[in-house]
């Protein structure tokens, strides 16, 4: 059914740290590798070796320049974008067939590849561009939160996380129950000021993003640098010459 559950028992989702993400694409490729053989039909690529290679991926990593108006400095922020498993997702309610649904037990939003008619209306309803149509199989694809990994009892417990989380080399991706205030992910969100994407839009995304930390010079490094420059410039020239001779003496005495 495309009617949304009033509540879900859990709110499983991801917490993505924009401070530590280095934009290496390991999460995107690991996602593709796992999911092309996973829950849904394969994630086909069109013209992979041709002039116009494209295909369905469930995770896309943007790089943004963020330029501060105050000091005119820029920073680069790597920004992974995937399904946010919203609490009130219109991608589910617009589905005419019931192929899109939100699970009551954990809040994961899924597409049933057996009943999807490929009308693409769900992709129109998503502001995050999280759904990618597969031209080859004629059905819609989206992040499954690796539903076939996280409950997989043949895996060691530490491997029961989404492929993107497992692959991240900088620990920028965290998985857990965001509906449980005592969970590690919820505490991380509280501690770091995690935020929603397009919160005002009202779909209530479950996934949270952690903001980049203040730049190094903002918390005293700039002051230390200035003090160092001061020390050098305030040293009298004779003293500097003496230091040079002392160094030359030391080198020549070897």
């Amino acid at each position: 059914m495309t009617a949304l559950p009033a509540t879900t028992e859990k709110k499983l989702g991801l917490v993505i740290d924009l401070d530590t993400c280095v934009g290496c694409q390991a999460c995107a490729t690991s996602c593709k590798e796992w999911n092309t053989a996973g829950y849904s039909e394969p994630l086909t690529d069109e013209e992979p070796m041709g002039a116009d290679p494209h295909g369905s991926w469930l995770n896309r990593i943007h790089g943004y320049e963020v330029k501060s108006a105050e000091d005119n400095t820029s920073r680069t922020v790597h920004f992974p974008r995937s399904c946010l498993h919203c609490e009130e997702p219109a991608c589910v309610t617009v589905c005419p067939t019931g192929a899109s649904y939100k699970r009551v037990e954990d809040g994961i939003v899924l597409v049933n590849p057996e009943t999807c008619i490929g009308c693409k209306l769900c992709s129109w309803a998503c502001p995050y561009g999280a759904r990618e149509y597969d031209y080859s199989s004629g059905v819609m694809k989206k992040c499954t939160l690796c539903v076939d990994r996280i409950y997989n009892e043949t895996f060691a417990p530490e491997d029961r996380v989404p492929a993107c989380v497992k692959a991240c080399p900088t620990g920028a991706r965290h998985f857990g129950d965001i509906g449980d205030p005592s969970s590690d992910v919820s505490q991380l969100v509280a501690e770091r000021g995690g935020f929603d994407l397009l919160g005002a839009f009202g779909y209530k995304p479950v996934n949270k993003y952690l903001p980049p930390r203040p730049k190094a010079h903002d918390n005293g490094a700039a002051a230390a640098e200035a003090a160092h420059a001061e020390t050098i410039s305030s040293t009298p020239p004779e003293a500097r010459l003496e230091k040079f001779f002392a160094w030359a003496d030391k080198v020549l005495s070897r």
Partner: protein, 315 residues
């Protein structure tokens, strides 16, 4: 938004078909219904062909057309599903009305009931079509109260012009349907002008800063794209061709959908006879070009929020 040609054909063809059968139903209720099996057979045949052909062509843009029957199941939440259900149900009163008008062995009260149900069913179906688009908050140019009414007046305009041409071709007096179609043309022009003014002046609410949540650190501009070639999202939501030509296309829509068929129909009503045949035929051809341009532009002009992730700026 990428204009899928099957969807443009579906919405315009079935819109004209529902308009046409609604005008016949109107004449049944006013007692102006035309005699003659030939005219009525052609009129209902054309109406049903446009409706059924349109519905069938809408399945051409599906990835899995063979599963289209599943779309009747989710009418509780989905406007697309509601449209399918109402469209299917409306075939019953249309066929009953056709029987009443062509074969004429149906009691007047049953014919009147079929006429009322035809008008309601056609109106609700076209309203559902409009609401599929108008309900999407991700596309601000569509998410407006005026969008669904535009679908209804355009259905009445195109269906009305078509029925007038058929009546003229069979040598009949066009009558009140012609004057009311003129009213529908005027309403179409007024609502489209209001719509274009509305989307041009509406504030662009959603920015790349909101979309990334990074606005507190400064201005956000895309630096490294996530992929080298356009993906589905960019191909489907990032269509740009029409925006460059929007002014010209709006003007030609106004001309082809409003001024030309309106003027031709007015002259046809005043002159009648063979002039009316030629003039109403010209009105049909012009209105067809106009409504196809209007629908293409409706898609191509609309920007989706997701484009701010790729292009920055605001939608």
């Amino acid at each position: 938004m990428h204009p899928a040609y099957s969807v443009i054909l579906f919405t315009t063809a079935s819109g004209a078909g529902y308009g046409l059968v609604s005008w016949i139903a109107y004449t049944v209720l006013t007692g102006e219904v035309q005699n003659g099996a030939a005219l009525n057979t052609v009129a209902f045949g054309l109406g049903l062909l446009l409706i059924a052909g349109g519905l069938l062509s809408s399945t051409a843009h599906l990835g899995r057309p063979e599963r289209a029957w599943r779309a009747f199941s989710q009418w509780q939440t989905s406007w697309l599903s509601r449209e399918g259900v109402v469209a299917l149900a409306t075939f019953a009163p249309i066929l009953l009305l056709a029987w009443a008008v062509i074969i004429r062995d149906v009691s007047p009260s049953l014919a009147a009931l079929a006429a009322v149900l035809t008008i309601i069913g056609a109106g609700v179906t076209v309203y559902c079509t409009g609401m599929i688009y108008a309900s999407l908050r991700t596309i601000p140019a569509w998410n407006r109260p005026v969008v669904a009414p535009i679908y209804i007046v355009l259905s009445l305009t195109t269906g009305g012009v078509l029925y007038c041409a058929l009546m003229a071709a069979f040598g009949r007096d066009i009558g009140s349907v012609g004057w009311l179609t003129l009213l529908a043309i005027f309403a179409s022009l007024a609502l489209k002008a209001f719509y274009w003014g509305d989307i041009d002046t509406a504030p662009r609410k959603w920015t790349a800063e909101d979309a990334t949540g990074l606005g507190r650190f400064g201005r956000v501009t895309p630096l490294e794209p996530p992929h080298t070639q356009p993906n589905f999202v960019m191909r489907e939501m990032g269509y740009k061709v029409a925006r460059k030509h929007a002014d010209k296309l709006r003007w030609s829509t106004t001309l082809c959908l409003g001024i030309i068929p309106g003027g031709a129909l007015l002259l046809a009503l005043l002159t009648g006879g063979v002039f009316a045949v030629v003039l109403t035929l010209a009105a049909v051809i012009s209105a067809a070009i106009g409504v196809l341009t209007e629908r293409w532009l409706f898609f191509a002009e609309a920007k989706h929020i997701v484009t701010v992730y790729y292009e920055g700026g605001a939608v």
